[in-house]
């Protein structure tokens, strides 16, 4: 198993009237691309802020490279976290921000930053205050990529970027990652778009981790069965149902289970149709099911994967 570089233990972040993080346990390994998925306000940015010591947990422990990042230059110099609402000095232009980053990241690649700025058609000599939302996101994306920090966070990096620019970001990320492996944490709620990039998925909802598993493992972990409602129900009796849709006498039911070859054959004999569940659908279903009190099963899910990785 890869070396663990991020470890969160019983992290709790309590605001006046809500728990932004509610007992989060997490461990991330070196040189992988993680997806931190969840709805707006689920706690993604809070979790990243606490890991990077930009914010403080109410209780619990956050270790990065085995130590707390707070006021720890040795650890901090290996982290880059440009937040979605990142602020910049008043008079700064993108070129100034890049030159600042160059002062602090020893692996900074100015050539890459220049190429990316061209790709994103970013006006590097315009004041950052005057940039559009998409251009502002581009500044953050460029700092994140060109810093080549061992642990890089991207906080909803695609906001305001058009489809072409988003694809460019994903492509450049994968290219650069292949040449310079590092740990990347991509926070997103556009799950389908990033699904193919991710090696491991962490889903957070209402401050709790509801899914923590390898992307491969997740892809086959659920299935949608559709056909006549009667037959579907008969086939799926006793299984863990995530979602159920009916249209007249037809039903389409998503189960959180892997079907064996024999079961698949049986389904076909019964005239039922099996279709894979996309990561996005699965996350949506799990999140919605979690709201209805199915957190126990998802908790087991998270524990299972932790066990498997040990």
């Amino acid at each position: 198993m890869n070396q663990t570089i991020v470890e969160a233990r019983n992290l709790i972040k309590h605001y006046k009237d809500l728990n932004a993080l509610d007992d989060v346990n997490l461990s991330l390994s070196a040189n992988r691309i993680y997806g931190l998925l969840g709805r707006n306000g689920a706690g993604k940015t809070t979790l990243m802020s606490i890991l990077t010591a930009q914010a403080f947990a109410t209780s619990g422990e956050a270790l990065v490279f085995g130590e707390s990042a707070y006021e720890n230059d040795a650890v901090l110099s290996r982290i880059c976290f440009i937040r979605e609402s990142q602020k910049y000095p008043d008079d700064f232009q993108p070129q100034h921000a890049f030159r600042s980053a160059a002062l602090f990241y020893r692996n900074w690649d100015q050539g890459l930053a220049d190429r990316l700025a061209e790709d994103f058609q970013l006006p590097v000599k315009r004041r950052i205050k005057k940039l559009s939302r998409g251009q502002l996101s581009a500044v953050g994306v460029i700092i994140g990529l060109a810093s080549r920090a061992e642990l890089t966070f991207f906080d909803e990096p695609y906001l305001g970027l058009d489809a072409v620019a988003r694809q460019l970001f994903y492509d450049r990320l994968v290219e650069d990652y292949a040449e310079h492996p590092r740990t990347i944490i991509l926070s997103s709620h556009l799950i389908d778009e990033v699904a193919n990039l991710l090696e491991h998925v962490v889903v957070i909802d209402k401050g709790r981790i509801i899914m923590d598993a390898d992307a491969e493992q997740i892809r086959g972990s659920a299935v949608t069965v559709s056909g006549s409602a009667e037959k579907v129900d008969a086939f799926l009796a006793g299984r863990s149902i995530l979602h159920r849709e009916t249209l007249g006498s037809l039903a389409s039911v998503t189960v959180d289970e892997v079907l064996s070859g024999r079961e698949r054959a049986q389904a076909q004999e019964m005239g039922l149709e099996l279709s894979p569940v996309s990561l996005q659908q699965l996350v949506v279903r799990k999140t919605m099911a979690g709201g209805a009190g199915a957190s126990a099963t998802s908790g087991d899910f998270a524990n299972d994967t932790l066990e498997a990785r040990r």
Binding site: S49, E71, L76, P89, H96, S100, L103, F104, A149
Partner: protein, 228 residues
């Protein structure tokens, strides 16, 4: 250490913020003051307060370094300590440079009899009457004071929001008024007046420097738990 230096260098990447603007403001204020001095047909020393103009900009710089530069420094994973030390060192350097400029301006001013129009921009009665180091100390401390006050208020705002800022501003006001009321009640004004009359620009700078130190220490302890 190197990251502290880098924090200072980072803020000099755009030369306008810390060098260009203060000099521009100083030059603009200087030219306007001279023009006005030239218009006043009096053959004796004319004093204006124009040289204080850059000081107000330093107050703004102090605020912005906390509200904008600090969050940026967090994004680049700079420790709060490195940010604080780097920013304060940078500001000391700028204040030192500006003080030098003020001293030089004062020397030229005296040599040219107020730029030929009996106008005194850098000289301030009482303040610049003493030896050069006393004048230097005064300007330096005032510049540092403006910056640190801005920085301190912005730190409070970052940490405790609008409520905290209001409480600390109103609180400071109330304490000052309270001291005033107490002084009236206990008839301290005469001794306070005497005390002030006894001060020289140098000793006053010393007291202000002490206040700066207290505020700077306060800023740091507040900053240590501030979030961007």
């Amino acid at each position: 250490m190197s990251r502290t230096v880098a924090v200072a260098r980072m803020q000099l990447i755009n030369k306008w913020t810390y060098i260009g603007w203060p000099l521009t403001i100083l030059a603009a204020s200087f030219i306007m003051s001279l023009a006005i001095f030239a218009l006043i047909p009096v053959q004796e020393g004319k004093y204006g307060g124009g040289s204080q103009a850059p000081m107000w900009y330093f107050l703004v710089l102090g605020i912005q370094s906390m509200t904008l530069v600090f969050p940026f420094s967090q994004g680049l994973s700079i420790s709060r300590r490195a940010f604080y030390l780097g920013t304060l060192s940078l500001f000391s350097l700028i204040a030192l440079g500006m003080t030098g400029l003020y001293l030089l301006g004062g020397v030229i001013e005296k040599a040219t009899n107020g730029w030929g129009v009996y106008g005194y921009f850098f000289s301030i009665p009482w303040v610049t009457d003493g030896p050069w180091y006393s004048t230097a100390a005064f300007f330096f401390v005032v510049m540092m004071f403006m910056f640190i006050v801005g920085f301190w208020f912005a730190t409070i705002y970052k940490r405790w929001g609008t409520g905290g800022t209001v409480v600390s501003t109103v609180g400071t006001g109330l304490v000052l008024i309270g001291i005033g009321a107490l002084s009236t009640l206990l008839q301290w004004w005469e001794s306070i007046g005497t005390w002030f009359a006894q001060q020289t620009p140098l000793s006053l700078s010393g007291w202000a420097a002490l206040l700066c130190l207290v505020l700077a220490a306060g800023s740091y302890s507040t900053l240590r738990r501030a979030t961007p």
